[in-house]
């Protein structure tokens, strides 16, 4: 009997150590990665570099917040990367090809994002297609649309037009400010990201609709029987996902100052990884926006450090995939 007691005690201690690791593994990983790069790379631990990292994170985080919303209602949105691309092209086209001012330039991609979200929810909520496959198809369709529209060419200032002459408009300063400007020494895109993270967090944690998003994802049947309009909330989630992807596309266009085709494609994987890392942060076990922010910080730091260590971009995909698997495994263990 006494032996069993000792045994249980030992076991308990072991378990609690492991639990700490599970709970804070993601944070420890971020710290470890930063420490490692700081030691290995001279220019890593500098203000310029960190502001650079944050700038690049800001776009991924916006995409990842959208994905987080779709995950919360127990859905999935693979089309966000293509939506970013389309939004980038749309804002560039509005500026360069149609000489529009800031308002239209922002409205067009945002409306496109919302329409894509509505289309996704039409397929998933109304027609009841599997979310992964429906958004996979949408991903290809949207990508195809932006490629067809541009015939595969990027949109840039003073670009020659196929019918002769050069493009009438250009990237205006007020638009470029979104991705390149600074406010109190902090990049505007970073401020925008932090603001949206903060607002989304408050919304999801402290408001009634936020709560109902989570309830819908946790048990759709019970939610329906509790009188929650589950289909409406699922629709909202996909629309929000499309909206955030559109905003990310605007920031991206502004950041690089051209409308690059398929620029958003790599963001899908980064965003998905960030959102799932977010599930494992703090051991919450549920998709959450603060966690998502930490997830994209981890990915941003890693990509930045690896680039500085001259790891080629194509090899970085291997590491991104590895991180996603790690985060999935961690959140799976936490659930047990």
């Amino acid at each position: 009997m006494a032996q069993t007691a000792v045994l249980t005690k030992e076991k308990k201690q072991k378990v609690s150590l492991l639990q700490i690791l599970y709970k804070h593994g993601t944070l420890l990983a971020i710290l470890a990665v930063i420490t490692y790069f700081s030691i290995m790379i001279e220019q890593f631990f500098t203000y310029e570099n960190f502001s650079d990292i944050l700038r690049s994170i800001s776009i991924v985080t916006l995409v990842a917040i959208g994905i987080t919303f779709s995950l919360i209602v127990d859905g999935f949105d693979l089309s966000v990367g293509s939506t970013v691309s389309l939004s980038t092209i749309a804002s560039a086209a509005a500026l360069v090809l149609y000489r529009q001012e800031i308002l239209v330039t922002l409205l067009v991609p945002i409306l496109l994002g919302i329409v894509i979200g509505l289309l996704n929810s039409l397929l998933i909520v109304k027609l009841k297609l599997p979310d992964l496959l429906a958004t996979l198809a949408m991903m290809y369709i949207i990508n195809g649309i932006q490629l067809t529209y541009t015939k595969g060419f990027s949109i840039y200032n003073d670009m020659p037009l196929p019918e002769g002459g050069i493009a009438p408009g250009k990237f205006i300063p007020s638009f470029l400010f979104i991705g390149q400007g600074e406010w109190l020494g902090i990049p505007f895109s970073v401020l925008l990201m932090l603001f949206l993270v903060f607002v989304s967090h408050l919304f999801l944690t402290y408001t009634k609709p936020g709560r109902l998003f989570y309830m819908t994802g946790e048990n759709r049947e019970a939610a329906r029987l509790s009188g929650i309009p589950v289909n409406r909330y699922r629709t909202y989630a996909y629309v929000i996902s499309g909206l955030f992807a559109a905003i990310a596309g605007i920031v991206l266009a502004s950041r690089i100052g051209t409308g690059q085709v398929s620029a958003g494609a790599p963001l899908l994987m980064d965003g998905v990884a960030a959102a799932f890392i977010g599930v494992s942060v703090f051991g919450i076990g549920k998709p959450n926006v603060i966690g998502t922010l930490f997830g994209s910080i981890l990915i941003g730091v890693l990509l930045n450090g690896l680039t500085m260590m001259n790891v080629p971009y194509y090899a970085q995909d291997i590491i991104k995939g590895g991180i996603l698997i790690g985060a999935l495994a961690l959140s799976h263990i936490q659930k047990k």
Binding site: M215, N219, A223
Partner: protein
């Protein structure tokens, strides 16, 4: 010596001791009842026996040989068979009856990778004959009824020549007739030397079918004897550790006002219509066997089925085609499958309790967390939910307390009508009493209560009026004074229909 013996079995999870030196013996050709309240350790003991996890301490001997099971496969090879309560988890719904039955053999056969379907079908038919089931072996399992699935599972267990078969609440989903058939099959197999470990909450059945009984309480064996040496009251006493008092029904004079009425409600599955009236503060019971259409009736009332009819609540007319409309009209539904349909298992008790109340706890959609916690705490106290912690995750609660959470969700809402669908399914006697007193206090507040169940005794304990339901129709109505268990059984098993067929 042909006997299954478990000696001094101990098992703890984290700090909680679930089994503390349990000795359990089952002789060959014996039906052995294993009794205990929820949390007494029955399931843990059976999971150890089925090889789900090893005990911390103790030995298992089968027919005189010591066994250690490191996987369910080991246990199966040693002759342990399990017919789980949730039969669907153990079958392949998209495969045929034949394929399900011989699945074990396919897995275990190492001689040839080729199957002779003729032989397999012969084998499956032979096994089905043993369990007394006449069914086409090519039928897909998801097309079978629950009762058929259970017997298919039993046939599957027999295919691996199991000598000790665990039946976990086998009659819970069965009608009286089906239960009878099952008992005949058990008797036949028993005569062939198969032993059964019989877990059930239905003590009358245990008296009928079992030879010996072992009763667990708090992880210890508190009683072991031949079944003839113990009465049902004594069983309950051993399980509870004290005498059980069945819910005393108070004499009540009912208000004559009709609170809830539904006219010509269509039950889509059986294409029948139902008319129903509930007075203010009345508890109306619907007695019906499994498959009588009770859940379909509840679903139709709550707007979950495409249906037609007229709803009248406190004199106002409604048409209801979705749960949202039903709730707005003032109907609450406590569903049969509480984990699947009633609860957010990974959320806290508080969030589960306040899901319908958020509007009153918010200002411009912002939730006041202190107000919310206060509301949750008061509900927890009213319902005696234990532990009384608003932040604990619902999945850590016992079945009875989970059920209280499901009910609690509706308590402070504007509900006038409460539909309870099998609210005591799988919960222990204590929790049942508490659920009853919650229902009675709702009735005292003047709510209209509809209580659907196949546990007729519960209706005799609690209902003011009892309707008997057969195949989607209300065939007979009793007042509380008229109703007896025998009458309910008679009419619900189609007695009345038989009567009509007799020449007058």
């Amino acid at each position: 010596m042909n006997e299954l013996q478990m000696f001094n079995i101990c098992k703890s999870f984290d700090e909680v001791t679930v089994l503390n030196g349990v000795n359990f013996h089952v002789k060959q050709g014996e039906v052995h009842a294993l009794l205990g309240m929820n949390g007494a350790g029955k399931s843990t003991l059976m999971k150890i026996l089925a090889g789900d996890f090893p005990p911390d301490d103790g030995t298992i001997m089968i027919d005189g040989k010591q066994c250690t099971f490191s996987s369910p496969l080991d246990a199966k090879k040693a002759g342990i068979g399990l017919v789980a309560q949730e039969v669907d988890t153990a079958l392949f719904p998209a495969l045929s009856v034949c394929e399900n039955i011989i699945a074990n053999e396919i897995v275990e056969t190492k001689t040839s990778p080729f199957l002779s379907w003729n032989k397999q079908k012969q084998r499956a038919k032979e096994l089905l004959r043993q369990v007394g089931l006449k069914i086409d072996v090519n039928k897909l399992v998801h097309e079978c009824s629950l009762h058929e699935k259970q017997l298919i599972l039993l046939a599957k267990v027999l295919s691996s020549s199991a000598k000790y078969i665990i039946l976990d609440e086998p009659t819970a989903p069965l009608s009286t007739a089906e239960t009878k058939t099952l008992f005949q099959i058990i008797q036949q197999l028993k005569a062939k030397g198969v032993s059964f470990i019989y877990i059930s909450h239905k003590l009358g059945e245990i008296k009928e079918i079992c030879d010996r009984v072992t009763i667990l309480r708090d992880g210890k064996v508190v009683h072991n004897s031949p079944i003839s040496d113990i009465t049902i009251d004594e069983m309950i006493e051993h399980m509870l550790g004290r005498t059980y008092q069945s819910a005393k029904k108070e004499k009540r004079t009912l208000n004559e006002t009709i609170a809830f009425e539904v006219k010509n409600l269509l039950i889509p599955k059986t294409k029948t219509t139902v008319n129903l009236q509930i007075r203010k503060g009345e508890i109306v019971g619907i007695a019906g066997l499994v498959g009588a259409g009770k859940t379909e009736l509840a679903h139709s009332l709550f707007g979950l089925e495409k249906t037609s009819g007229q709803w009248w609540i406190n004199g106002k007319k409604y048409t209801i085609s979705s749960p949202i409309e039903a709730i707005e009209a003032g109907i609450s539904y406590i569903p049969e499958e509480r984990r699947k349909q009633g609860l957010f298992m990974n959320e806290s008790v508080q969030k589960n309790l306040t899901v319908r109340l958020l509007s009153s706890l918010t200002n411009f959609q912002w939730i006041y967390s202190q107000k919310e916690e206060k509301m949750a705490l008061s509900l927890i106290q009213t319902l005696k939910i234990r532990p009384s912690l608003p932040k604990i995750t619902v999945k850590h609660l016992s079945g009875g307390n989970q059920q209280k959470v499901v009910i609690g969700k509706w308590l402070n809402t504007n509900s006038e009508v409460f539909i309870f669908d099998e609210p005591t399914k799988g919960i222990d006697v204590n929790a049942k009493t508490e659920i009853f007193s919650i229902i009675q206090s709702l009735a005292k507040q003047g709510k209209a209560i509809l209580y659907l169940t196949n546990e007729f005794q519960e209706l005799l304990d609690i209902a003011d009026t009892i309707h008997v339901m057969v195949d989607g129709e209300l065939v007979k109505t009793f007042s509380a004074e008229e109703a007896t268990h025998e009458k309910l059984v008679y009419y619900s098993s189609g007695g009345e229909t038989l009567w009509h067929k007799l020449p007058s």
